[in-house]
Amino acid sequence: MSTSALTTMILTQLFVTAVTGYFFYKVLKTPNKKED
């Protein structure tokens, strides 16, 4: 596997995993708003 392919794969997968994790974490940490 070439270095360019390995770099693209790792960077892309890390980026997507991190962003997904960030949004999911934010969902878990944010309390629901109260409905009147």
């Binding site: 596997m1 070439s2 360019s4 392919a5 390995l6 693209t8 794969m9 892309t12 997968q13 997507v16 995993t17 962003v19 997904t20 949004f23 999911f24 934010k26 969902v27 878990l28 944010t30 629901n32 708003k33 109260k34 409905e35 009147d36």
Partner: protein, 619 residues
């Protein structure tokens, strides 16, 4: 209106259900194939650009539109769009938001039943000891009504009905008690199975290479999938493929997101929820989807084979054979996980497809949850049975093309224009931001108004006049020849069918050039068969034997008393009459499938009209 008020139990449940709606078989099968065919590692650049410019805006449009509808007591698109557009036309455009779901569920449930059957076959070790072609043929036997693989008569029909019944049962338990529960179990399991298989894909290397195969190495597959070739960035085909992938992977343009979001409480967030669900779909696609099929297939069959044959059917026709290389215990576990993963991906999507109809019937006709689920099952069964009974005649493909592809783009284009231009971008922006748990970048306001509809328009026009071989450069610089199979214009004209163009005929024209290998006359219970040896166009390579497999076409005629007019050894040309007798030609089944779809749309439009009259008389 029904007295049973539905809502989501938890926020996580809602996001998992939304992600489950988006995650489908395409995440594991369509994405890697698209990437392989469109520049490998470079594909991710247009893919992410399209996600930011079209995917995220459409998610926000649909989530906020749905919550807006729910606030006004509407849980499906006809009256949600009507409320936003204030013109009668929008109600009927909104019909697509129910139509697409029933039409897609009709054949999607059939795919689900394949996965269920293959889970059973994996556990039973039916693939053990079979070569690649025997595994591929097992699929052919499964979809053939005259044979069965599990000892059940009319197996595909029985399993299809069984799968539909599972869907109806879960739907009848309501959002919180049914859909949300399944999503909470199915999505984590899907990810766990996916991680297991992805680890195998990423670590396989050349361990599985058969003797003599020099390009059988999973790392070569990963290299091919991820190596950037920046020259592809200037190719319109790559951008259209990326936009199309984003569009289909997110399940936008269907009406399901609107319906799910309609059950979000008025003050709750939709902006962050949409991002969480959308990115989770991206994770399953980019991280898991890209690490399973392509590397494993290249590891055993070689890069050249995969370049030539990468397609959706690999899931059923190739993967079980490859798992078989891992030894009995691991093959059983891998098969169970792979088809289990596809089953969960499928059922979380098909459940979402049931909810717009249910929401509509509950809102407008006061149906209970149970009654609306059962009626969804009945309508879907009526629409779906032809895809099972006439699968090989192409009814399934017609549903997929028109309902599962073209209509989605049309509907998404319409809703993006409605949101940005008719409802108004200022109101729309406020709607997305209401209760938002994240700060939305302001740049998205002009993107929502200008860029997203423009991209959708380009996709639509691109599909309408798609040039042959997807070669846009040639089309612009030289002659514009439509793709006969995939362009909308080519499909409408059935341009890819050159012979037997009447629905019914008394002579049968050969669909191919070749030499007649064998003829088997009809008899009692036996349909006449003509076996034609075609010149091999793209020979399959068997890794078991490493030699070309001759391309054979078997033509089974419709009636036992058809008369065959050719003899073995005779050279024939395409279009030459080779049999006489009364025939139903494949073009008939295309027409039939299209009539079924039109009939469904008209039926739903009539229901919307009746509901509208009811509403007016109640005012």
């Amino acid at each position: 209106m029904s007295n049973e008020k539905q809502s989501w139990g938890t926020r996580v449940g809602l996001i998992l259900a939304m992600a489950g709606n988006a995650v489908g078989l395409g995440n594991f099968l369509r994405f890697p194939v698209q990437a392989v065919n469109n520049g490998g590692g470079t594909f991710i650049i247009p893919y992410l650009v399209c996600f930011f410019l079209m995917g995220i805006p459409l998610l926000w449009i649909e989530w906020s539109t749905g919550r807006f509808g729910g606030r006004n007591g509407n849980h499906c698109t006809p009256f949600i769009l009507d409320n936003m557009g204030k013109k009668r036309l929008w109600k009927y455009i909104g019909v697509f938001g129910i139509f697409t779901n029933i039409a897609v569920a009709a054949y999607y449930t059939y795919i689900e039943s394949w996965t269920l059957s293959y889970v059973f076959h994996s556990l039973k070790q039916s693939f053990s000891g079979l070569n690649q072609f025997e595994v591929a043929n097992l699929f052919g036997s499964y979809v053939d009504l005259n044979t069965n693989t599990m000892g059940i008569p009319f197996e595909p029909v029985v399993l299809y009905i069984f799968c539909l019944a599972i869907n109806v049962y879960i739907l009848s338990k309501g959002l919180e008690g049914g859909v949300e529960k399944v999503a909470k179990i199915g999505m984590p399991l899907l990810i766990a199975f996916g991680v297991f298989l992805a680890v195998r894909g990423l670590t396989l290397g050349s361990n599985g290479a058969p003797e003599g195969c020099t390009d059988c190495n999973a790392f070569l597959g990963l290299d091919f999938l991820w190596k950037p070739d920046f020259s592809n960035l200037w190719d319109a085909k790559v951008w259209l493929a990326a936009a199309g992938q984003i569009f289909f992977t997110l399940s936008v343009g269907m009406g399901t997101i609107h319906c799910y979001a309609a059950y979000v409480k008025p003050k709750q967030d939709v902006a962050l929820n949409a991002m969480a669900a959308g990115w989770m779909n991206g994770f399953v696609e980019i991280v898991l989807g890209a690490s399973i099929v392509i590397p494993i297939a290249v590891g055993y069959l070689g890069l050249d084979w995969v370049k030539e044959n990468a397609s959706f059917s690999m899931a059923f026709q190739t993967m079980p054979y490859l798992f078989g290389k891992w030894g009995t215990a691991l093959a059983t576990a891998a098969g169970f996980m792979w088809f289990g993963l596809l089953f969960f991906a499928g059922i979380t999507s098909s459940l979402a497809m049931g909810t717009p109809w249910m929401g509509f019937m509950q809102d407008e006709f006061g149906y209970s949850i149970k009654k609306s689920a059962i009626t969804f099952g009945i309508v879907t069964l009526i629409m779906g049975l032809p895809t099972v009974l006439f699968f090989q005649e192409g009814v399934f493909d017609q549903y997929d093309y028109w309902a599962g592809t073209v209509v989605l783009v049309v509907f998404a284009l319409a809703e993006s224009i409605l949101f940005g231009w008719i409802f108004g971008i200022d109101k729309g922006w406020d709607e997305i931001n209401q209760g938002a748990d994240i700060t939305l970048p302001k740049i998205y306001k002009p993107i929502l108004k200008y860029i997203t509809p423009t991209m959708l328009l380009i996709i639509f026009i691109g599909s309408l006049v798609l040039p042959k071989n997807n070669d846009w450069e040639k089309a612009f610089k030289e002659e514009w020849v439509f793709d006969e199979t995939n362009s909308i214009i080519g499909q409408i004209n059935n341009s890819d069918i050159k012979q037997n163009r009447d629905w019914f005929s008394t002579v049968y024209e050969s669909p191919t050039d070749g030499i007649v290998k064998d003829v088997i006359p009809g008899g009692e219970g036996i349909l006449p068969l003509i076996v034609i040896g075609e010149l091999p166009k793209s020979p399959l390579i068997s890794t078991d034997e490493l030699k070309p497999i001759p391309t054979i076409k078997q033509i089974e005629l419709n009636n036992t008393d058809d008369i065959i007019n050719v003899k073995p050894g005779q050279t024939i040309q395409a279009g030459m009459p080779i049999a006489s007798g009364w025939h139903i030609n494949p073009i008939f089944y295309r027409g039939f499938a299209r009539l079924m779809l039109i009939g469904l749309f008209v039926y739903l439009a009539l229901l919307v009209r009746i509901a509208n009259k009811k509403r007016k008389s109640n005012v």
